[in-house]
């Protein structure tokens, strides 16, 4: 039989405790190499839509907040368009990168609430932000989604949420509104209320 010549993906390795040096050098105190840390600002002008802040912490299996974790988000703009789709908001980058505070473990993304984006079959997915988490002790970056607890109707018909068999786990994907445009999204790596992670 003929062989299918395909390469294997490079195996993942942990980002380690010093991930900030390469990915947020100014945050790490390495000044003067890059002018600004990438992903620090997602809003780069008069962005359309509702300004929100997503705050949270990442907890390990013994309930301690990770203080060395780094997170990235990728999302559509307020109209549901990704950055250079026709008509997308030029004042919004769609991509953010933040480290948790080294003392408290708290992270924050200042962004806009995304609009709905179509699923493969054209049905709309509820507004959501894709979230990627890397840290020491995490061997392969964890993928999850931030949905919004105040989007009941859209969440109820979301094609991804709909396929989750254990309905009681869905709240782990919902950011809770706290007023003033702030949402709380804590991630639990293990234990009761372990956050749902995705493989796609």
């Amino acid at each position: 039989m003929q062989r299918i010549a395909r390469l294997k993906e490079s195996p993942s390795q942990t980002a380690g405790p010093y991930v900030h040096i390469g990915m947020l050098p100014n945050f790490a105190g390495i000044d003067g190499v890059f002018d600004e840390d990438l992903g620090a600002r997602m809003i780069v002008g008069e962005a359309k839509g509702e300004r929100i802040t997503i705050r949270g912490r990442v907890f390990d299996g013994v309930g301690a907040a990770l203080k060395d974790v780094l997170l990235e988000v990728w999302q559509a703009d307020a109209q549901g368009l990704f950055p250079s789709q026709e008509g997308a908001d030029p004042a919004f980058t769609g991509w953010g990168r933040q480290a948790a505070d080294m003392d408290t473990g708290e992270f924050a993304f200042e962004t806009v609430k995304p609009g709905p984006v179509p699923f493969r079959d054209g049905r709309l997915m509820a507004p959501h932000v894709s979230l990627w988490i890397v840290a020491r002790g995490i061997n392969l970056g964890l993928q999850t989604r931030i949905y919004f607890a105040d989007e009941d109707e859209a969440n109820a018909s979301d094609p991804i949420l709909s396929r989750i068999e254990h309905r009681d786990r869905i709240p782990t994907l919902l950011a809770e509104p706290k007023g003033d445009g702030t949402y709380r999204f804590d991630i639990r790596l293990q234990g009761e209320n372990e956050t749902i992670f995705f493989d796609f």
Binding site: A5, R6, L7, K8, E9, S10, P11, S12, Q13, T14, G16, P17, Y18, I21, G22, M23, A28, G29, I30, V33, F34, E36, L38, G39, R41, V44, D60, G61, E72, W74, A76, F82, A88, T93, G94, W95, M102, V117, P118, R120, G122, M125, S130, W132, A135, R136, G137, I138, N139, G141, Q143, I164, L189, Q190, E194, I196, F197, F198, D199, F200
Partner: protein
């Protein structure tokens, strides 16, 4: 200042997103380290215990941030000089790391951002949480970045990092390594990994390397010394290719793209 102008990279989803194909090849999770790898102790409390839930990629997984060359500085990919005040640059064995970012079908991934970070020649990181007794090099920061060219090629100039001890077992050492962060053209290709050096005996003793299930997987992260490419009287060259997930493509789809 806006760090990077970002544009969307749309993967092959011609003629509408609802067509079959266009998604990424499923990730072979048995080839990657498991989440729980007890010999690497920190993974014990940081590994999810439930299986991840699968879904087919959508626009959000098939697109990703795009970074443009105009925001890169001239020394971004030169770790010997990008932090140095001395014109001589950082201390240590001078090397060039070059290679390609490919997808699983062997196609070069063009114009994608590659970020690296590493310890100095003594094995010490410039980081406030780092306490190894080896000294900092005042002329070495340890970060670099570049974009691949149209064929997926990248290149860094740096110094060979030293091995360093780390708190895990009573006497664990990391082999010399460079950390890599790669974007590819979509969110679903996002990858962080590490590059090791040909012939380093510490590779096979390291619990973090050992999280990779197969010797073949480990070998695929070991850069090869390229004496032909080596620059005489200046720097040795190490070759390191990085493979990101590929994407489904059919002839039909290629035609739809006008190829």
């Amino acid at each position: 200042m806006n760090a990077f102008k970002q544009k969307q990279a749309v993967l092959q989803t011609p003629g509408g997103h609802d067509r079959p194909g266009g998604g990424l090849y499923a990730r072979d999770r048995s080839w990657h380290p498991a989440a729980l790898t007890p010999a690497y102790k920190t993974s014990v409390t940081r590994s999810p215990t439930r299986a991840p839930i699968s879904f087919p990629t959508t626009l959000g997984e098939e697109t990703g941030p795009v970074f443009t060359r105009d925001r890169l500085g001239p020394l971004d990919a030169d770790l010997v000089h990008n932090f140095a005040r001395s014109p001589d640059g950082a201390i240590g064995p001078r090397i060039v790391v070059q290679g390609r970012v490919l997808d699983e079908d062997g196609r070069g991934v063009p114009h994608t951002l590659v970020e690296v970070w590493q310890a100095n020649a003594g094995g010490r990181y410039r980081h406030k949480k780092e306490g190894y007794l080896a000294p900092l090099d005042p002329d070495f920061g340890g970060c670099g970045r570049c974009l691949t060219d149209e064929a997926g090629r990248y290149e860094f100039r740096t110094i060979q990092p030293g091995p360093y001890p780390w708190p895990n077992g009573p006497n664990d050492w990391r082999p010399a390594h460079i950390h890599f962060s790669v974007f590819g053209q979509s969110w679903g290709q996002r990858l962080i990994t590490q590059m090791y050096f040909d012939g380093d005996p510490m590779i096979w003793r390291c619990p973090i390397v050992g999280t990779i299930p197969s010797p073949e997987g480990i070998e695929s992260l070991v850069a090869r010394l390229d004496m032909e490419a080596t620059i005489p009287m200046d720097a040795r060259v190490y070759r390191f290719d990085i493979v990101l997930r590929g994407r489904r493509q059919t002839l039909f789809e290629n035609r739809m793209e006008g190829l």
